[in-house]
Structures are given as C-alpha cells and as structure tokens.
Symmetry: C3
Subunit: 401 residues, 3 copies
C-alpha cells in the first residue's frame, strides 16, 4: 500500500489532518495537478477587459495565463508561453494589444492564439501546429473562471442550479471596486480550513462577530436568529434555499458548488463597520435587508453576497509552505467611487478580518510543524471545515486510486 | 552496510571529519533526534521568571517551548502547540499569564498544562486527554535545562559530581545580566569544534590570548603556568579537580558532563579588557583570583566561571547549514547594572571573541564545502576538539546501531 | 535505460531542449562535473597580477581559486582551502601577499603552495603531504584560463590553430579596462543559447543591430555584406578564415574552440554607439576597419574582437536555476583611461545589450518552467545555438555512456 493510502486509512474522522498532509511533497504534487490545475478558479470579472484587445495576466504557481478579449468580443485564455523557445509573451500584467508578439524573436499570434508571423521558420513546419496553448475559460454571470486542465469538468449543473441567485445579485452587472492579495506563510489547506469555520470568529474577529450571527442549531439563540433571517429574506423576495451544502462531488464530470443564506444581527444591513450600507443596491434587490448569501464555486472560490456588495475569496498555493488569499470587492457596475461608495468603508470589514486570519493561519502552521503536533477533534462549530476535509480526502483518494 | 556506517568506518582517528558529516541530510536528521531533541540544553536562569505566571519561550529548530512558573511556584515546560488544531498558544516571547489561552479558538489551559475551557467540544471527548505536551525541564542550581525527549537521560550524576563547584560559584544566586544570540552560517559542529580548541586563539583572538594561558603539557612555560594556577586556586580555597575531562558517556542513562580549572595570566583577575574585575564576587569566593573554571553540561552547553561572572555558551542548529550561539553573562543576583557592573565592560571580551569566531567558522564552512576539501590532522593543541569528535562519532554510531 | 538516456533519445534534432534539461538535478550534477569542473574557463588577464605576490580570487559555484604570481614570476592557481581543517585562506578578493597564511590556525604556505608553518603538527605527519591543492591554469597570450579538473584537456591545438589571430589582436598586450558581473535568474544554457544566435537581435537589440550585419546565406543583402566584409578584411591584412565553426570535439583530449570573422555595417568602425573608435588600435592592426572576429575558447568563454577593443563573455552557473555572465572589456595595455578611452563609451554597447539579454533570458526561463512549455523549432537564423545544443547533447551523452 502506498504511503499516502496508509495515511488516508489512518485518518480519524472529524479530527484535523496529520502533519504529513501539509509537508509531504508527493501530496503537494497531487494537489497541484488534481486540484489547482484541474478545478475552476475565480480570477476576475469581464468588466475588467471591456474593449477589444484588453487583457490581463492571471498567475497560478509557475503558470501565467493571458486573459484577452478578441476582435469578436469573445474572451479567451492562453498560456503565456511562446511556441518557439518558450519565452513569456506578455510582460505587462494588463493592457491593450492588437496581437500577441513575443519580445524575444518577434513571433506573433492573433487574439485567437494562432501563429501569424515567424521569420525564417523552416519551410516544412506548419504555423497551424504552433498556436498558443489554450486554457479553459468560462464566463458565468460576468465572472471569469479558468481551469488549466485539458479536460475540465463541466459547469452546466452549477450554472443551472445557481441561476436564480446569480440573477438576484446581478453578477453580470457588477464591477470590481477593489482587489487585494494577501500572502500567507502557510499551506493552503490551513487557510481554507480557517475560512470555512466561524468557531474562531468570537475570539479572533470582534469586528465580524458584531454583525454576523454565529449560532448553530441547538445553541441558545439559534431559533431567534433563524426567524429573523427568514422574515428578512421574505421581505425582499429571497427564498431560504440551500444547494448542496455538503459540497459533494455528486457527478464526477461536474464542478462542485454550494449555496446557502443566513442572517445578519439586528441593526446590520450589510457587512460594514456600523451595519449601514456601503454601496448602492445590486441586482434585483429592492431594499436593504439583513440577508447574506454564501457561494462556494469550485473548491477554492468563495463569495459572500450582501445587498450592496459581493466579496469574493480565492485561496491558492504559491508553494507547499505558502499560499495567498485574493479578495475581490464587487459593486454595482454603475456605482461611482467617491460618490456612490467609499473604498475604505467598502473594504474595511473583510480587510481587517483577512489580516487577522493571516496571523492566525501562520501561527497555526508553526504549531502544525512541531514534532508534538497531533490532530485534535473538530467541534460542532467547525462543520464546514469537516466537510472541506472530507471533500479533500475524497479528492486525494481518487487521485491515488 | 549503510552509507553512514561506511562513512564512520572510514574515519581516520584524530583527523577532522569528512565533508559528508556536514552535508548528508540523513545525518542531520539523526543529529536532530538523537542530540538536540534528546539532550539537556541550557536555556536560561530561573531568576528570569520569578513570579507566578511569568513565562518565556525557548526556540529550538521548529519547536517552541513555553517555560512558565506555576501558581505553586514550580517551573514547567510545555510545547507551544494547541491540542485542538495545533496553533501556537503564546505569541509573545515572554510575559506574565494567568492561564494559557490559544488565540485561535480560545481553548484554555491552566499553568499545569491541563485543558480547562474548550467551547462546543464534542461530549465524548475527555478534556484530560487533551493536556499540553510536557517538555523535560530541570533546574540545576537555578539554571534551567530542557530536554525535548519523552525519556530524557538522568542528571543525577551530573548534579552529584558538580555539587561543590555549583555551590562555590553560587549558581543559584546569579542573574542573567546580558544575553546575545549570534547566528552563524555554518553547520553546528564546526562551531563546537571551534569552541573546543584554543589552537586558533593566538592567531585569531588577541584579546583573549592576553589574559588566558594557552600552554599545553610539554610546551615551554606550561609548568610555570600550572604552578601559578595552583597557588592561585589554593589561595581562594579551590581544589584543582578535573571531572570526566574525556566527556565519555560512561553510563548510557546519564547525561554527560565535564569540569576542569585553569589559570589566567599574571595580572588578570577575570576575563576582561584589562584583567580588572567587572562585577562583584559571586558565590563563596572571597577574593578576586586568577582561577577560571570550565563546565561542559550536556553536549552543547558550556560555562566559563570567573570570580565575578559566569559566561554560558550554547550551540544549536537552525538548519543543517546554519547554527547559532547563545551567550549568557551571569552575575551576582544582587549586583545592580550601572552601579555594580557596566554591561559594556562585562560583555566586552566574549562579545569580540564570539564575533571573531563567527567569521572564522563561516570561512571554515566555505572551505569544507569545496570539492577539494580533505580532512586534515588535529594537532596536539586541539585535544578537546578531538574528544568532541570522538564523542560525536560514538553518538552517531549508537544511533544507527 | 537511464532516464537521461531516454530523454536524449527523444530529443528532436534542431528543436529546442525539453524542460527537463533545465530542471533535473542529476543533469545539473553532470554539467557541473563534466562541463564546469572539466573545461577551460576564461577568468582574467595576467596584467591584473603584474607583481610577485599579486593575487586574485576566482569563484565558481562553491569553489574559490587563488590565482597568484610566485616569486619566480610564474602564475599558479590553488584551491582556497586549508589542508588542516579546510578554512578559506585568502579572505580578500585580491591583493599582494608574501605567503598564504590561513587566518584560522596560522598554517602557512609559500607561493608554490607548499606547507611551511604548522605549529604543534604531530611529528609523524609530513608537511609535503599537505600542500595546497593545485588547480589547472594556462596563460594563452596573456589571457588566464583555469580548469578545475585533475586531468584537464590539452590546449595545444587551440594555441596552434589560433596563433595568428591571437598575434593579430595582440592579446598579450591588453589590459582589462572594465569587468562587470551580470547575475541572471535562469539556467546557464538559456544564457548561452541566447548569446549564440542573433535571430533576436532585430527585435531586442536596436543598438547592436544598427552596427552589426545579421544577414545569413541566402537572405537578400547577404552577398553585399559579405563583399564589404571581404574588402574590409583585406584592407587591413585579415584573412577570412574560419576555424572549426562547428565547434566539434574532434579530439577528445583537446579543448574545443572556434573562430570566424564578419563585417560591421557601413560607417561602423567598431562596436560603439556611433560606430566611431572608442580606444587606440590593438595588436598589429594598422588602421580602423569594419572587420570583427568571434572566438569561442572552451565551451563558455567567448570573445568579440574589434580593431580597438576586445569584449570577453563568460557564462557560468551559480545554481541550476541561476547563472551569471561576466563581461570583460580589454584594450591596449598602454591606453590610459580618461585620455585614450572613456570607460562609458567603451562599455556602452555591450552593457545595454547584456542588460537587455538578461531580461530576455529571465522571461525565457519563466516560460520554460510552464507545464505547457514544449520545445519549438530552431529557425535558420539560430544555427550557432543549434550547434551549441548538438555539442551539449554530445557532452551529456558521453557523460552517461
């Protein structure tokens, strides 16, 4: 039996992961290939590249992907690797281009990725065989997702099941008001484990805990919070739906997703310092209310939708020991900065919270590195993290089977 | 035969170590487990944590140990790793606490390391099973030693044999007047090899060589220096004892130690710039004299005791290629800085000497890394280094047997 | 079959190298031993150490070589490693010394590398057995080359075949007017591949392309450039010789070399901003002309000789992922800086060109690291790079056979 199989077999259900999951280089290789190079990952919004030839670069581990809007207005994604001797083609991280010209020997490609110019190319070599490598790209309600695999999973079920909430929050009519990258000296799983539970919110996030209900079923106060949420949701036409809260891979050919709603505390209309709105209403929402929606689109992209803005969270590794959290704040595309929203106020809550989490996660990693670290039991308040661990072990098991 | 066994077999007695001892990662793994995680290491003095709840953190490789004085005034040591999900518990490097509370999910432990609070812990899990991991700690004449092993060697023989010198120098009534950490880009063994011989003192340490006799048996001047030492020692009631100068592991269940005395040059009463005292007398010593005592307590902790201060040296790796030297200057606990001693004067000699050694050791490592490096012969003036190498090879041999 | 043999077998002739050649650590080990520690490498000019006892240090990977002029005026090379415990002996990078004294324990060697002083050395050890390790060194027309192997290849054929051009350019009567080290975050082969072709010159080096003809046989303009070169060469007594342009290892016991000449564009008399001379004439050249000579001495040392200066290029790795380019500008030894030449003007062309290449090569490495990188076809304008790849694969094949 392989070492990894033995490790998986020895896992104690509902307890944290063994140190080896964070350190074994073979496991990181599997994670890279099976999770990060074979999942749909949120990378931005189509409004970032509105004009023909607009592009930006998305980086993941050693890969750079060119996201570019073609002359036909279609958005495509290509690996930023010249087919001649492999040079990077785009050196700027965004801009507008007529064609993709490699700075090394001036090989040039059109915006569909086809090689057009290559001086002195031997006669027996066909230009068609030297197109740029395509990268999977899908636009879902204006949101851009890439998948580096040659055979990416389908997003059909995700799109179908989440059609109503996507429409409700008007994803297509958003724009990115702010984007911040938080590097974290820890394995990516510790960051996702942290994001998935709010057991740590009371001790660690006073700012968040003021506004967001943390009650779980059975806890005193749970029923009251639930009632308030329901009445709030109904008031603005929201149904209390939950979609695949278990985040199971029900169909192996389909990307995974989950969706649920919950309530804010009384007096809080959005995720902000004082609970007051920080931007104009989005989508079909007609009045500020205390509902709040959680999306989990693919394994490492998360969205939290308020009435006036949506915050997107993406966790990716930069190495086995380091990861990063990209946070995107999206508002109504018609909102004007300075007039309709103040960037400081908009970003305040999730900026302080992410900084606090960064420190927590780094200190978690340090302890996990100890010779005395032993996985401990998850509590009832860490259900989503348990769910994530279950999903993760399934993926690892599938990879080695 | 294993590669390491072949290496040990090919070692030429009384010649330096082969390059592989400094580079083979398997050897470093053995050193970490068998030497650094299974030896008593000096980490400070109990006077640093005089009050209930006083603590400080000791770091060794990736490990952090919390040294804390309990409500019963007893000092204990715990691994700084929460039993829930492994986070560091103490984030400050020293302070005073009532209990040990993890900043992540607020699990709290009392100062005996027992889990007291853990909200939402599943009912079937017993708190007693989730105490902090204890670390071996012993207080010897006020000096704190830790041992990270679950079955540390006994210190009984060491304590028994060194009772007289510990009492003479009044270890219990000292305090740490200064502590400095010197990082060295070299394998830890090169640092210990350097510390153990004074063959390099004449070319490299003019400051030290002025005051400390370097003669060895047979050398011109040896007998005269010896006589002066004897008369000096007798004058202040010191016996010329030597304890286990060979640093043999006579009893495998006992930690190793060695002790000896030697003389300073005429006109020098202590290790200082001009030979004049730099602090009040310590222990039972009644007048300034030219005696000087060497202690070797465990494999990497060394002490040099003068009449007015004791300097402690501890060598530990931070990786296979890097190590650090922690130097502690200890004076009579009643001495007041500024009044009874001047920190600059007190630390001058061993600060300049350690800086000089740092450079020497780094340049030694650079040459040892060369493809042309070949171990050379130890001279008669490198006896203690030979002894150290012998001890080291025994430890390595035991580890792989 | 070994993994490397499989890799070599799968190489597609005249296409770029697979990613593995830049990343497999076993391949780097072979390259280090078979190419860098067993080839003649240009390291400077004898005029740098004109007086007895003058020395400088040459560094290559972890090795340091002392290049020193003895009391007999002969230049010798030694590994900078003491035979006692391996310390570096020379800590300065250049200077003048009477003997080589190790700073650690003061062992001293004469300038022939023989151990002279070693206090307390055991009687049974003979000093003769502890001489410094010699390094291969040859002076060719004043130029210094080292070879770290114990059995270096002969330079006899190289010296014989290149006698005429060495004399023509007066290599012996040069001095180094400037030396600059350019670190490049890329595998060394990408740097040499870049240096070897001028397909990238038009898009990347406008400065160079203004002055240097880039035409290849068959291209429009080639014949005319060729004619101009010929008439220019004849005008100043140069023959249009080509020596071993294929850079084949014809005799396995002889170091490799190549030599050829080409023309500058009309109006350009040397490699400078405006084509005007930047230093006095060198060697036997009697008037400024548009000829230009390329030398390839050993695998990684290149020289470009104009009428008034010679630029030397040496590529060496600092690790598998990093390399450096050392550029030397050599002028007539009698030329005085400030009077006969201006350092800025002299170095301008190859400084801007090397900086541009540095960026190109780094971006090439980034793309080569991609999971989607595939070797592409070399064009007809990359002949010398093809030649280099062929030579490199032969060397690798020989190493594993």
């Amino acid at each position: 039996m392989s070492q990894i199989q033995t490790l998986i077999n020895s896992h104690k259900e509902d307890w944290a992961l063994d140190q080896e999951y964070y350190k074994n280089p073979e496991i990181f290789t599997i994670e890279r290939e099976r999770i990060f190079f074979d999942s749909w990952i949120f990378i931005g919004h189509e409004s970032q590249i509105n004009k023909k030839g607009d592009f930006f670069i998305y980086e993941l581990l050693n890969e750079e992907i060119i996201i570019v809007r073609g002359k036909d207005m279609k958005i495509r994604a290509f690996f930023n690797v010249c087919r001649h001797r492999g040079s990077r083609i785009c050196l700027e991280d965004k801009g507008n281009i007529k064609r993709l010209t490699c700075p090394y020997h001036a090989w040039s490609y059109n915006l569909e990725g086809n090689l057009q110019g290559a001086k002195s190319l031997p006669k027996d070599i066909e230009k068609q065989s030297l197109s740029l490598h395509k990268c999977g790209l899908e636009v879902i309600g204006g949101m851009l997702f890439v998948n580096l695999s040659d055979n990416p999973e389908s997003l059909d079920n995700l799109k179908r099941d989440l059609e109503e909430p996507f429409a409700l929050f008007g994803f297509e009519n958003l724009k990115i008001a702010a984007h911040k990258n938080y590097p974290i000296e820890a394995n990516w799983k510790l960051a996702v484990e942290n994001y998935q539970e709010c057991y740590h919110c009371a001790p660690s996030h006073p700012e968040y805990s003021l506004s967001h209900t943390l009650k779980i079923e059975g806890e005193p106060g749970f029923n009251k919070a639930q009632e308030r949420m329901m009445s709030n949701l109904e008031a603005c036409g929201l149904k209390d739906i939950e979609i695949n809260k278990d985040f199971n891979r029900k169909d192996p050919d389909q990307e995974q997703y989950a969706y649920s709603r919950y309530a804010l505390f009384e007096g809080y209309l959005t995720g902000s310092k004082n609970g007051k709105p920080v931007a104009p209403l989005i989508g079909k929402i007609s009045e500020y209310n205390q509902g709040c929606s959680d999306f989990n689109l693919g394994p490492v992209s998360f969205f939290l939708a308020y009435c006036d803005y949506i915050v997107g969270y993406v966790f990716t590794p930069t190495s086995q020991e380091n990861c990063q959290c990209d946070v995107y704040w999206m508002v109504n595309e018609e909102a004007e900065e300075g007039k309709d929203y103040d960037k400081e106020k908009l970003t305040w809550l999730w900026d302080v919270t992410t900084y606090a989490d960064e420190e927590i996660i780094i200190n978690n990693q340090k302890g996990v590195n100890s010779i005395k670290y032993q996985p401990g039991p998850y509590t009832d308040k860490e259900r989503s993290t348990r769910r994530f661990i279950k999903w993760y072990l399934d993926e690892l098991q599938n990879a080695i089977s």
